[in-house]
Symmetry: C3
Subunit: 132 residues, 3 copies
Amino acid sequence: MEILSVISNRHDEMIDITGAVQSIISKQGIRSGICMIYTPHTTAAITINENADPSVVNDIITGLNHLNFEKIQFKHAEGNSPSHIKSSIIGCSELVCIEKGILQLGTWQGIYFCEFDGPRSRNVYIKIIHSE
Amino acid sequence: MEILSVISNRHDEMIDITGAVQSIISKQGIRSGICMIYTPHTTAAITINENADPSVVNDIITGLNHLNFEKIQFKHAEGNSPSHIKSSIIGCSELVCIEKGILQLGTWQGIYFCEFDGPRSRNVYIKIIHSE
Amino acid sequence: MEILSVISNRHDEMIDITGAVQSIISKQGIRSGICMIYTPHTTAAITINENADPSVVNDIITGLNHLNFEKIQFKHAEGNSPSHIKSSIIGCSELVCIEKGILQLGTWQGIYFCEFDGPRSRNVYIKIIHSE
């Protein structure tokens, strides 16, 4: 398992980590397998979505905020329950296939670290399972 | 990694691909492991839900549309930001255990390709990790 | 694959299964790999979130109910379509890395079985893929 460091600058932010994940695979010389991308935080998430037009990831943040979790009276004293809910809705990990040493992403897909309670210094775990 | 072709006929549609996934496992002769089902598109998703009453998957589409993402003023010029948001909420992959060559789904579970921006011609990647 | 039994006591409930999952890993003597936690039910889910303050998981249930799926006229005759939708939004499985025989969860993370249509007797499948 390797650990990537990610620094967020805003309360809600999606940070493209595709290049950093591919670098780990290339360095390890893995040809075929599955790459797991996992964040060990409870107010963050990992998702895969469009990396061509940067508006898309901003629109995803807008869409989640449109659900108005901020308006609920929550019990958790820290006040960041909406961030915890977004984390469980998006999920704290993603998987991508590896073939010939390359992440098998679609043409428009990138891997994103999702910050829902920033700015903060965060980690992402990368674990590769080799096949064949 | 194998590639399944899926053709959607509506803007929002859930297509049962369970049989096609099981066929790949049977053809490869895998006895025990994990099967990853992944779609390389940013306005589609993979989920596992009830395959007994076809109303359930239609109700899931209704439920997602009830969140009213279409009413938001988005920045992305293509106009399909609601489809991108649904993709990240549901997620672009699922995993199922394999034992004795059979997908270990629950009694009522099927594997669904979720179209959120159709009709289109789409792909699903199937990757199997063998255990022991 | 091993099977954990979980009994829920409320309609919506999040049950911490972290200790039970770690016990299976310890018993099998796995040092490094990936642990898959999967529920074979279509009105339940698995998520990873905060286990320090028990208010957080209650707030996650409150947040999902705030989406008002109960107000929709659904087609599925059983009346539990909101439970199916929540299952697909949260997802029926999670993955955690294993290193030195220990689940690599974050400081505040626990693994939760999510009941959305209880009370019921439920199962969780645990599948471990060994690496190296």
